[in-house]
Symmetry: D2
């Protein structure tokens, strides 16, 4: 199907559609699956879902029961097991496990082996050969891998009778890869794929999605579609995409607070951010390479808000640490210390402690992004979606890290959508 | 001089002008006086002054040395003594005392006895009969009081050769007065003045300023011009004014953070704010009536942001406390605890500790407001200035407590001013 | 049975014994009941139980399954319902509800209507006439009330074949009563009882326990046995008792930290303590009279540690607030701010935030106290137990609030017990 | 003079004596010098000096004006300049600079070039050749270096007519040296000195002090006398010494709080400590080797208190970070997060923020230690002083890190001293 065809026959919101989660058995996907089932059954309110707030009424979103869940993963632990663990940890209510169990099983049946990063440690307890299948997939050539992913999506859509799907990447943080020259140009990139050169898994998923006309959302700091080659692919194929790295906790707060200091002309001297987390994500981040990817995004946001004229200028001292604290589980706890100077050099401070449940913050934002990516697809929009910047630590476009400016951009976009005749 | 005349002959920014501080010997006024002298001499940078930030360049503000300071007070302690105390407490640098001493003496010479609230406790140590003069003034009829204030201003302007003055009210918090029916209507209010009915001092200053064509800024929670009668006066006389209650610390943070929770559709369950302060302001606030005035402003802002549809609806539990902790001096310290609910009912929390030097935060905002009030006057604007809402806990107009919306309104206003030909 | 007889025939640790909880359906009792059953079944470790720590091995404590639970309450909600609520709130693990259900039912069957304070608000939903029975009991004369309590205890012991019982008072905080002259002297007090003069319920339970030779533990700030008359009763009857007001959270921290400042000769200028809680206890404390009782204990501890020579001397500014924040449930959250002065007048600060689950902290201490009261009884000790001071905000004896000195006293006492031949 | 002679002729407290500070121009020494002069003149109270508290009255300490200050340093900045900087930063009151200037000059005259660690970076601005002299000293053989130090001390004592001196090491943290086999045995160590083998500067000062009969106090994490060879030297020479690493801030709090968790049988799951500091000490600690020395002491204390049976057992997760935050200057700010488990596995947390002025906390402790080391010397005590453990992060002896046990040991020791006839 050519890009032109796609925009001529926009999908209707009412038709069933797919939400395909890469990292399907992780905490975010599991929480989303439990929550989506609960929303359908009227057992949960849409708390934490930006696009469901009364302020944004008037958009013709697909109903909650129009969404079908599927996904890739490289881990064999079943979604139901993940859900029980999350209930144990207080992330999802124990009382929901029973009513959503059928929905979780339907999701589980639509989970396929994903591409296992060669660097990933092997996990114990793979009874069903699931991990083996991931390893097999990892050993194929890039073009074969892409074809396998697309085949999984097409089979899923055919089996469930879906008109379309959004691909959302919520897998673990990869090690920061060395950028390749071929990422700068679509032709060079496709030549590299043809030539069998290995690429980070997140880029293969992005390519597979965009090349097949499926919107792609990257909720992680992994590369995904964040290079000129894949930006060009999205334009060529006329497909919307967005990312990177969901803004759920400490960085959200930073980008909500830093504009205040800037607006008041207060001079921030030091901003120290200490993050602690204990879930699988935290475990992965213990490895230095993986942590770097995350930290770069957290620090850059601050500098661009506080020193918009010269983000690299000296003056602001900032530091971000992420430590793995197993006892915290999914409860990300962060302490930030902001040392600032007021009139006549007087030094003052602000410190905050954020104790947030990561999956409970991320899952509703994934629903928001799936809605927005699908809406853009239906409206024939292509390329990176500037109005989604408020959801990301490192937005692919949008021009500012200031949370309130980003949010105003989202409101402005949705206002044009909800206008009669728009 | 009629209102029409005033707008026909706008003052030039370059001409010397007056900044008259009611509460001239308090910590805010003293810090402002030290800072203004330091700015003039190039000994301080304009940190904390919103309108001096690079983002707002392009406005033709009066030079720092165009401003002449004068003021009313009911306290006999000299400004130089206040400044030495503030240096001792670390609010202003010790090294500035010597270079600014001449400027402080010039300010001191322009301080006149103000109206002493009958309820105010007597202060010891009035050697110069200053307090006695305040008591005498307090015993006059309202019309005589107003005339006395205006006479002080005219004398000051004449003596210094000033083209105009802005009156800024930074005195201590009054006891919350019982609203009078006469405040609803300008004619009724003026009849009450004629009839000799006592009014809160802040209203007398406001009336005296507006009736004489001088812009009035109320930086306190006191009534000031916040009633229909005085709003009407400002319109009749064609004079700009703004207030109430400078937004310097915890409330600033609240109105910067609450919009984030609202934008993310997170449900705030409880917001507890504990404020501690140790300066004279804190001492005054120990008296229950005085504290009520302050607390009402602090709590309302939160509700209007988090529950815009129904600020009075149950659901949000909030509480604000202000305690006097003498050892803190001018260092206001606040701890806020925000308990909120995310997706699927998961409870999370944010807590912050703000340690801010009250006077160092307030003084530059007073300079901002004096600049903005004067600018509005020169541009022929009358009535309450909506674009100053970001400076106040209880803005007289502007329509929102959301700090970022308020700041955007200020930027939008100043953009129209700085446009060529505007 | 005379006191002499009691000490001549000490009970054996191995015989079954009763733990009678006044306030049997509250959160502390319910948590204790769940925990005791879990300990018996090997489903829980004795975390939080001081006397079960390895450092204190060597004492011949009754086995966990020797303890039988019974209790009084004025509320009709069943213990099983309380347990389910606590599991919902994350206080006890959901997985324990099933294994302990039989034990909870056995406890439930041994709960009798208590004395309803006349001032207590009526609770809805009393289907079984339980509340009515409490009201009836409340209307009896003091002597009849005491007899009724003792009859309940005797019936419980007979039915279960228990050799003895400890009575632990964990009911809600009463309004601070006006002290009566008769409390100063045992004869006068007994005459008042004979004369039908009303007494606070906590004193009636204390009298009934001590007069019948049963040890009494008061875990609340209520009067209990804290008056000369009841101290004399304990001596006359040769019965041990202890109290008042379990030291579980913020006060524990205060009494652990304040000695550090004192030992280092650092001068504490201000100590502000802000407590927030959302359980039934918090609801009761909203009423001013009830809160006073609690606050007095919290503040006195601090002064006696920091200013041992002159607790009432000026210098230390301290303040304790308790606020009801419903969303917190059983999770008591406290923020303390300590402002102190070091060498040459330099001001510094310590602040802490304590987030503790009240019932999970209190229940194991009740087990400790039941063990210690029973041990003292078996050893023939009478009167208030000095070595239990570390468990209380307002210890009846022990001479210090310093937590570490209190704990050393406990260790020293237990060392004499565990010595061979002791 | 043989050890036997020394104890036969104990010095009298009333005779003038020396306090020799290695690191004489640093913040701790400067604060001490300002404070000692202020104490002498009655301009300061002995706040922060443990041995000056009313609880410890009855010891015959040397009067404040009996102490004469001298010292070594490798930095050429004068003490008066340091003092002015500290006043600027709010560490010492500006008002004291004038009254103490003469005393600072007397101190300055008694400062001699110290041994510059070969690894130390060169400092700019050495006008007087001071740094050059330090380099020269650093180039000598160990035996020559030791002789030079002792000659400085003897000259100081002769010039001022002092009966004795205490040597206190308060220089910057050295890089963690590789332990040498010769440190295990005094003979081997002396052979190494004779053989010209280089030793860390702190060990040379320790050797020089102990070998010449002067008590040695090591307030830093540097090796100092912390090896079997130097312990043996102290015994052979009959000289008292103590160390290592002054316990002034976060570790003090840790060792005051951890015993509470242990006493209550609460299970600490994680203890994360984040330290920020901005003074020269912080700058030095940026270098990885130097930081390791500090961190090891901070972490070990915690483990030995919480897991006394098995400090190395898994279970407790702990982490200590030290970051350089220049804007903080001497104001060390630390945030600790303690995650712990109570009854039935309920997780709770304590977090604290400590904002302490390092020099204002350390200087009075140095006065305490000088007093205690001199007292021990006068009483003929030799070897490491167990009763000083409460002052150190890594006490050379004393057997516990529990602050309160350590403090009880100090009280017990002083009680024997103050007894009549003792």
């Amino acid at each position: 199907m050519s890009p032109a065809d796609r925009t001529h026959h926009p999908a209707k919101p009412a038709e069933p559609l797919g939400l395909w989660l890469v990292g399907a058995r992780g905490a975010i996907s599991t929480t989303l699956a439990v929550g989506l089932a609960a929303l359908r059954q009227g057992l949960a309110e849409p708390v934490g879902i930006t696009t469901a707030s009364p302020a944004l009424a008037g958009i013709d979103w697909p109903a909650w029961d129009a969404w079908h869940l599927g996904g890739h993963d490289v881990c064999a632990r079943e979604v139901g097991t993940s859900a029980a663990e999350l209930a144990q940890a207080g992330v999802v209510p124990t009382g929901l496990l029973e009513p959503v169990s059928e929905a979780l099983q339907a999701f589980e049946r639509a989970i396929r082996p994903g591409i296992l990063e060669p660097s990933a440690a092997s996990e114990p307890g793979d009874q069903g050969g699931f991990l083996q299948a991931s390893r097999t997939l990892a050993a194929l050539s890039p073009r074969e891998q892409i074809a396998a992913l697309q085949a999984d999506w097409s089979a899923f859509e055919a089996e469930r009778g879906l008109s379309r799907s959004v691909i959302v990447y919520v897998a673990s943080t990869e090690a920061l890869p060395t950028p390749q020259p071929a990422w700068q140009d679509l032709k060079a990139f496709e030549a590299a794929l043809d030539g069998g050169e290995r690429q980070p898994a997140s880029m293969l998923y992005a390519y597979a999605a965009l090349a097949s006309g499926r919107p792609f959302v990257n909720f992680t700091p992994n590369v995904g579609a964040n290079c000129p080659a894949l930006h060009a692919l999205a334009q060529r194929e006329g497909v919307p995409h967005c990312g990177n790295d969901g803004k759920t906790g400490e960085t959200l707060l930073k980008t909500a607070l830093a504009p205040m200091f800037h607006a008041r002309a207060l001079r921030v001297l030091s901003w120290q951010g200490y993050n602690m987390l204990g879930n699988r994500d935290g475990d992965v981040l213990r490895q230095a390479g993986h942590r770097e990817a995350k930290l770069a995004n957290k620090d850059e946001a601050l500098r661009s808000i506080l020193q918009p004229e010269a983000p690299d200028a000296p003056g602001l001292h900032s530091h971000v640490a992420i430590d793995y604290v197993p006892s915290l589980g999914d409860w990300k706890t962060a302490w930030d210390f902001v040392h600032f100077e007021g009139f006549l050099g007087t030094k003052m401070s602000l410190q905050f402690t954020w104790a947030g449940c990561d999956s409970a913050l991320a899952a509703p934002l994934v629903l928001d992004l799936a809605r927005l990516a699908d809406l853009a697809q239906r409206r024939g929009e292509a390329g990176s979606l500037e109005h989604t910047a408020c959801f990301f630590k490192a937005p692919l476009s949008g021009g500012t890290h200031d949370f309130y400016r980003q949010y105003q951009a989202l409101l402005a976009y949705l206002a044009t959508v909800s206008e009669p005749g728009a």
